[in-house]
């Protein structure tokens, strides 16, 4: 019997699918942004003060890391399109390393918070007041969810690198790389909003 020989390849469709998925991710975070905006409106002073607790420098470093990594992954696609497979691979690896750096940084940042008895459900937070509880609740939930997306993004990028290695992603067939890149940019996009909302606006 004839197997399913009809292999249908449509890069535009794959990209469209990826974008649609990105929309849902944006709206997923969108839900949290709604919660953020309401609570910020309800507790302006507490949010202001709690924001000062966060370490701006850490946030800034992570912002720069993500922006640079976003560029390297975009360049990796350019390289692939131009047929420079090795360069593409190098840029991808740099992106992955930057992503790991982000996570390490995040680990220390969260660790410092835990040392200050700031974690969801801590009694210290409860004494600070409801505004602070909510602020840090949001902080942990949103940056946590974001970190989770970084991890997923990294897994995808490693997978892409593996495909490039195997030559299953190559200059005439690189939509997987493009989609991986899109996902990584999404992670960056969200951080662009998280950074000012939590670290900067006092």
């Amino acid at each position: 019997m004839e197997a399913n020989t009809h292999v249908h390849r449509d890069d535009v469709a794959s990209k469209l699918g990826m974008w649609l998925f990105i929309f849902t991710e944006i709206l997923l975070f969108g839900g949290m942004f709604i919660v953020y905006s309401i609570f910020r409106y309800n507790h302006p002073v507490a949010f202001h003060l709690a924001g000062e607790e966060l370490n701006d420098t850490m946030g800034l470093i992570n912002t720069i890391i993500l922006l640079v990594s976003s560029m390297t992954v975009a360049m990796s696609i350019t390289a692939m399109q131009r047929g420079q497979v090795r360069r593409s691979m190098q840029l991808l690896v740099i992106t992955i390393i930057l992503g790991l750096a982000f996570l390490v940084n995040k680990y220390f940042e969260w660790g410092a918070k835990f040392d200050h008895h700031i974690y969801p459900g801590s009694s210290f937070l409860r004494e600070l007041g409801t505004g602070d509880t909510l602020f840090f609740g949001l902080y942990f939930m949103m940056t946590g969810l974001h970190a989770l997306h970084i991890i997923v993004g990294l897994i995808i990028l490693v997978w892409v690198a593996f495909y490039i290695q195997k030559k299953r992603t190559r200059p005439d067939k690189y939509v997987f790389l493009e989609n991986g890149g899109l996902y990584w940019h999404l992670v960056d996009l969200i951080w662009i909003f998280l950074f000012p909302l939590f670290y900067l606006i006092h």
Binding site: G30, M32, V35, I38, H43, M141
Partner: protein, 533 residues
């Protein structure tokens, strides 16, 4: 017309896999559609039995067949299964999967593997929900709305139920994504947007709602989980949270979700009525536009579920007004359907009977929705059995009728066999009578003030509750007849021809049942001037 005898149909074409593997490993959209159907049917029976249990308990005040804790779990699980497992995925996952690609002249959906993956997620989601029934604190008892703060205070086993709903949402997103991409990329040459069958359009509109609304409930359910385990405090007033915010987030999804349920149903009706009137639909453009209008406006009316929560008067004004606007596109559709019958040459076959039943029940459901949309009247009947009657009319009377209409319409195509028309009609009539006897009294009870989710009630509500319970038995008997007749038909019915109803859309140009990749050659419609379905 038919020189297709030699070709194997998709049942016979197992691609070298044996037994059940031919199903659960297959990426064929038709097999996946049927797998959804079998799964959903099984849970449909479970849901109906739970509904029957509810009615048994309500036949008399006080304890009749179960205690209050059991009752609360019954309606919660009934609601969760019916909404998340049956009506939201129902029509798109079964008939969307089976017929969308054929109708637009494609060999499969855009991402067949993802499609299979969605089904697996669906199963995992169901299993997760089921786990909640048998572990730790026992079945959840919060109502399908999971309102905070009760949902994280109850000692019952909420977590798996919520997680299951989250996974089911994910499955629904992926299905929507798949269909939208399919429609954008895989229409046959000449299948212009404005030539697309209306069912395909409705699936398209549904897909967008799935994409736009489902993530919000996803994150909301995650927050409920975080709330329960980490005491984050978003919705807990003791920690400064806001229970009303939870309601906003929940309904931002769950209102659009009701249009996820009804749009494909409307699509089915828009296929059936023209076929049996044997002419094109009246006002194709208007029907398409109203589909998209429902999808869009339907997103912005959610807070009509919260008129008594104490939200601001401004918000009540805005949401009530918007609610009335969302009724207009439905009105347009109803008028166009009726106008399609005008000067037709009508064959009163079983699917058309169901479609007419749909119209009647949907109208009652829709009109009572207007009472709920007006603030003054809603405040009186909110959370009474009036609301329960409203949505059973619109979901079962509407979406349910459309589901059975679709089954009777497409069964010959899916299985290549015909059911017994006499028993199908008897089944319908029993269902229709039972349905109205069951739910109509609930409008009156609600107006008299009987609250919903009430295990026990005052004596003055007794009479109508008895009537209602009797109706439930009549209706379930009808459903039994219908389903048995369909199963018998699918297995032993007479052979059906390729186009038993003389339908005009593409699925009627392929053999019954269709072969593995639907078409030998992708149809070319550039020259045909065929009127859209």
């Amino acid at each position: 017309m038919s020189e297709t005898a030699a070709q194997l149909n998709f049942f016979q074409e197992t691609q070298g896999r044996k037994g059940i593997l031919a199903w659960i490993l297959s990426t064929d959209h038709k097999r996946i559609g049927l797998m959804y159907m079998y799964t959903i049917m099984v849970f449909f029976i479970v849901g109906v039995l739970l509904g029957l249990g509810i009615k048994m308990e309500l036949i008399a005040p006080g304890l009749t067949v179960m205690g209050p804790q059991a009752y609360n779990s019954f309606f919660t699980v009934h609601g969760v299964i019916m909404i998340f497992v049956i009506v939201i995925p129902g029509l798109p996952a079964i008939f969307g999967n089976f017929f969308l690609p054929i109708m637009i002249g494609a060999k499969d959906v855009a991402f067949p593997k993802l499609n299979l993956f969605s089904w697996y997620l669906f199963i995992i989601g169901i299993i997760t929900v089921l786990i909640s029934l048998f572990t730790f604190g026992g079945p959840p008892d919060t109502g399908w709305t999971f309102y905070a703060p009760y949902s994280f205070k109850t000692t019952t086993n909420m977590f798996p139920a919520v997680l299951g709903a989250f996974i089911l949402g994910f499955s629904s997103i992926l299905t929507g994504l798949n269909f939208i991409t399919t429609i954008h990329r895989m229409r046959a040459p000449g299948m212009r947007w404005m030539k697309m069958p209306l069912f395909a359009w409705s699936i398209y509109g549904t897909g967008w709602i799935q994409l736009f609304a489902t993530p919000i409930v996803g994150i909301t359910l995650l927050m409920i989980i975080a709330e329960r385990f980490l005491k984050i405090g978003f919705f807990d007033p003791a920690l400064g949270g806001d229970p009303i915010l939870y309601q906003h987030l929940f309904w931002i999804y769950s209102h659009p979700a009701v249009y996820i349920m009804i749009l494909p149903a409307m699509g089915v009706i828009s296929e059936i009525i023209p076929t049996f009137a044997r002419k094109g639909i009246f006002g194709y453009n208007a029907v398409v536009i109203s589909t998209m209008a429902i999808a869009i406006v339907g997103y912005f009316v959610w807070a009509h579920h919260m008129f008594t929560s104490g939200m601001s008067t401004t918000a009540q004004f805005v949401f009530s007004l918007l609610t009335f606007f969302v009724a207009i596109p439905s009105a347009i559709k109803v008028f166009n359907w009726v106008a399609t019958l005008y000067k037709g040459s009508i064959r009163l076959e079983v699917p058309l009977i169901w479609a007419l039943g749909f119209l009647f029940l949907f109208m009652i459901g829709g009109f009572t929705g207007l009472f709920l949309g007006a603030v003054a009247t809603d405040v009186h009947v909110h959370n009474t059995t009036f609301v329960v009657a409203h949505f059973h009319y619109i979901i079962f009377g509407g979406m349910g009728s459309a589901f059975f209409a679709a089954l009777h319409y497409w069964l010959p195509k899916m299985y290549g066999r015909m059911y017994n028309k006499y028993w199908a009609t008897v089944g319908w009539a029993t269902f229709f009578i039972g349905f109205n006897v069951l739910y109509f009294p609930m409008f009156i009870l609600g107006y008299q003030g009987m609250p919903r989710r009430y295990y026990d009630y005052l004596d003055q509500f007794h009479g109508l509750n008895i009537v209602s319970t009797l109706g439930a038995f009549i209706m379930v008997a009808g459903i039994f007849v219908i389903i048995l007749n369909l199963i018998r038909g699918a297995r032993h019915g007479e052979q059906a021809t390729m186009n038993p109803w003389e339908g005009r859309s593409l699925e009627w140009t392929v053999p019954s049942p269709p072969p593995l990749e639907n078409f030998d050659e992708i149809p070319d419609l550039t020259k045909s001037s065929a009127h859209p379905a």
